[in-house]
């Protein structure tokens, strides 16, 4: 008879945000405004107010100059100032440079440095220049592990040089990025000893659900700071005037679907079949229903599927900025009778969407554009409503689309695809990668294959880079100009948070060596120093990605998966 092992079913609060929140802390928090104004009776069932504070929040203390969040970071929490104050960099004229924030702007190598790669070839793997790890005078760091803090050395000079605004006790910040899963919009640092309540997004969501005050506040902040900018940058709304955009901002709905920490659940789901995965993808809109409005993906990814026999066939995918439901609304408006949705829309991992009500679309866009112009949909006219991009994957084998969506490779902005019908396995790509990275190839020419296309094990520079969440020093970050996700080797502490968060296992933690070949060790515990490494898309090279450039047979490509047209052209070439 087999022995059955039983465990308590894991629940949301099985792993609290912090184990250090005490009852006394919670009592103290409940005396602070606006938390003291919350009505505990609104928090019924399992998720009590005390429970949320106990499990979804933590108290963090910062010293003067400590950086709390950096512009461009990804984070899953918002902050509430309990005492002290923080400064937000307004970036009015110039923002705090990356070097000051513990980042590294990847600079193209000089002509001499490019040539020097011919002879500066290390025999040992992962050799580093120890001198580069000496402290940078402009930045400092204290603490260790996840408690590492990067701080500004000369805060008064920063205040003199850059325009900042004060956020005082009793105010929130960081809620837009936490709820919308978008990069932090500004850098925030402590300008005096400060105590903050950091609330992870699930807790913030519950507070919003149960307290209208907090909900209204966050909703207003989102509409003011994030929504207007987003809508103005959406092509179909670009020709609207200010009052019309204001109407959109006021009436738009904002929804979040899926799990914030989808990377972990994805690794578990990957062991199961396609059907299981589809069941775990929350439905945003269902095929056959009438559209309530146009759905615009603000962040994350979504799957378009259609019923097929007893299952669902994936017919495409949407990435940020893509629109769903407009065709049906237009067809309904032209035909004067409502048209049902042709496809279902599901969040892959996590997606945040903005819904613009149908009536508003009809009055602001359709009536204004006119019936005659809209019926010329295929024309390449100047109106973005007419020439909006069509997400058409019909020329790609449906199995391949299913494979890309199922494995979430559509998340990549530079996914490495190899056409195995053309690849001669010469490994020129691997050698080129090694030659441009000091003899350390940053990818494996290996990976799952579908329809003779391999998705190689290389960083995809994701649209939704879950690896960046939880990096305690901000070492892993996205380059502002070209969007590559890179790691600053100087500020990487080797904690491995990025590697364990990456759903594609594209980040490796390596022990670094001295030029002589021996491992560089920590001066106290004598343990080897480790660093995270991955593909940097040859950001410092003149040639662009060396792997793609080195492939003699046009077999390898770094694909922006958002560009379905380019993918189709490559697939059907």
């Amino acid at each position: 008879m087999p022995i059955l092992e039983s465990i308590q079913r894991p629940e949301r609060w099985s792993v609290p945000f912090s184990t250090e929140m005490t009852d006394a802390d919670i009592d103290r928090l409940l005396e602070v405004k606006p938390l003291c104004d919350l009505d505990p009776t609104q928090f019924r069932g399992k998720f009590t107010l005390r429970g949320i504070l106990q499990n979804d929040a933590r108290l963090v203390r910062y010293r003067k100059g400590d950086i709390i969040v950096r512009q461009g970071d990804w984070g899953n929490s918002a902050f509430f100032v309990i005492s002290g104050s923080v400064r937000v960099d307004l970036q009015a004229t110039t923002s705090l440079p990356g070097e000051v924030l513990g980042r590294q702007k990847v600079r193209r190598k000089s002509a001499w440095q490019v040539l020097a790669q011919l002879w500066n070839f290390r025999r040992e793997p992962e050799v580093r220049d120890v001198a580069s790890y000496r402290e940078d005078a402009r930045i400092g760091s204290r603490g260790s592990g996840e408690q590492t803090r990067i701080y500004l050395q000369d805060i008064s000079a920063v205040l003199d040089t850059y325009r900042t605004a004060v956020i005082k006790a009793g105010q929130f910040f960081g809620e837009n990025a936490a709820l919308g899963r978008t990069p932090r919009q500004a850098t925030v640092f402590a300008d005096q000893p400060t105590e903050l309540l950091e609330i992870r997004w699930q807790g913030l969501r519950d507070l919003m659900r149960r307290d209208t005050g907090i909900r209204d506040h966050i909703d207003q902040v989102f509409r003011e700071r994030g929504l207007e900018w987003f809508l103005l940058n959406t092509p179909i709304f670009q020709h609207l005037d200010k009052s019309e955009v204001a109407q959109l901002v006021n009436q738009a709905e904002f929804e979040t679907h899926g799990q914030y920490d989808w990377a972990g659940s994805f690794k578990r789901l990957a062991r199961h079949g396609a059907d299981t995965n589809l069941q775990h993808e929350p439905l945003i809109a269902e095929e056959g229903h009438h559209p309530n409005g146009v759905v615009i993906v603000r962040s994350g990814l979504a799957r378009l599927s259609r019923r097929h026999e007893h299952g669902h066939r994936t017919v495409g995918y949407l990435t940020p900025g893509h629109i769903y439901g407009l065709d049906e609304i237009v067809d309904g408006w032209l035909g004067k009778s409502p048209k049902p949705l042709k496809n279902s829309l599901r969040a892959i991992g996590m997606a945040t969407v903005i819904i613009i009500p149908t009536k508003l679309i009809e009055s602001l866009l359709l009536e204004k554009t006119g019936r005659r112009n809209i019926s010329r949909r295929t024309a390449t006219g100047g109106d973005p409503l007419i020439k909006r991009p069509v997400i058409d994957t019909t020329r790609i084998n449906p199995d391949f689309v299913e494979f890309l969506v199922q494995n979430r490779y559509v998340n990549g902005t530079a996914t490495m695809l190899i056409d195995m019908d053309r690849c001669t396995r010469c490994d020129d790509c691997v050698r080129a990668c090694a030659a441009t990275h000091d003899n350390n190839p940053r990818f494996l020419r290996n990976g799952p294959i579908q329809n003779n296309i391999m998705v190689a094990n290389a960083c995809m520079h994701c649209e939704d880079p879950v690896c960046m969440i939880e990096c305690p020093t901000g070492a892993i970050h996205r380059q502002v100009e070209e969007g590559q996700v890179v790691i600053n080797d100087q500020t990487c502490i080797g904690c491995g948070a990025c590697a364990s968060n990456c759903p594609y296992d594209a980040i490796r933690i390596v022990e670094v060596r001295h030029k002589r070949g021996d491992f560089i060790r920590d001066d106290r515990k004598h343990a080897p120093i480790v660093k995270a490494t991955k593909c940097d898309l040859c950001a410092d090279q003149w040639t662009g990605p060396a792997c793609q450039n080195a492939c003699p047979h046009d077999a390898l490509v770094r694909m922006e998966m958002r560009d379905v047209q380019k993918l189709t052209e490559w697939y059907t070439r």
Partner: protein
């Protein structure tokens, strides 16, 4: 038209135009009593240097010298063009002196190995996706040893458990040579699976001497034989794709050395004639 087909059409058109232009120029030069051999010789040497430079380009991936794919296209079509330039240079006759014969033979071998390489890289790459799992070439010996170890463990376990030596005997006589090294290289290259089918037939015809347990063990062995055969197939094709360059590249350097020497000889003995 699809992108790759369009590229092929464009490059072929350029090649044909270039060939006819070259043939025309050569005919005009002959009519004008110019030394066409000298002109075609210089052109040929320049082109061969450019063709050989592709190997250098591969070793310098960090220099902005254009994509390797563009270089390969240039390499292929220029390679074909040199065949015409070579024909004009030797006036479509077999050279007479021993040195010239060696030089011509070297050129033809390099040219032929290039054409074979082109054929192999276009055909074998596609065939590799049709059988067995995708494996890295360097890992194939490791997988082969693992497979052999699995099979031997299985055979020994059966021998200990059943007190019958039939399976072990068959393994030692027929299968051990098959599992111990890479087999049937040329047959795999020729896309023939006759040796594997023959071995599987031997396994199934051996059934008549076995009991039920032994038959089951032999069926397991048959599965491993198919796996090993797939591994051999991958090895044969990948090795060919890798190693043809070991002929093409050294021969190119030899050709280059002989061509430069040929130029020196011609210059030394031309007596200033034009």
């Amino acid at each position: 038209m699809k992108r790759l087909a369009a590229r092929r059409t464009r490059n072929l058109t350029i090649l044909i135009v270039a060939v006819f232009a070259f043939l025309g120029c050569s005919a005009l030069a002959t009519i004008a009593l110019r030394d066409t051999a000298r002109l075609s010789g210089w052109l040929l040497l320049t082109l061969i240097i450019f063709l050989a430079a592709y190997n250098l380009r591969k070793k310098l991936p960090f220099l902005p010298l254009g994509s390797s794919a563009a270089w390969l296209q240039f390499h292929i079509y220029t390679g074909f063009f040199t065949a015409v330039a070579f024909g004009i240079h030797i006036a479509w006759r077999i050279p007479r002196g021993p040195f010239e014969i060696v030089l011509a033979a070297l050129y033809l071998t390099v040219f032929a190995s290039g054409v074979v390489g082109l054929f192999l890289s276009r055909s074998l790459a596609r065939r590799l996706t049709t059988r067995g799992d995708e494996v890295m070439f360097e890992r194939i010996p490791v997988y082969r040893r693992q497979l052999q170890h699995e099979v031997e463990t299985q055979v020994l376990a059966f021998l200990t458990a059943s007190d019958s030596s039939a399976v072990a005997q068959f393994y030692a006589d027929r299968l051990e040579p098959f599992f111990s090294r890479t087999r049937h290289f040329w047959q795999h290259l020729a896309q023939s699976n006759r040796p594997c089918v023959a071995l599987l037939n031997e396994i199934s015809s051996y059934d008549r001497y076995l009991n039920a347990d032994e038959r089951e063990a032999m069926q397991r062995l048959a599965k491993q034989v198919r796996k090993k055969d797939d591994l051999d197939y991958q090895f044969a094709l990948q090795a060919t794709l890798k190693y043809w360059l070991f002929g093409h590249v050294p021969l190119t350097y030899a050709l280059l050395a002989f061509a430069v020497f040929h130029l020196l000889l011609v210059s030394a003995f031309s007596g200033g004639g034009r």
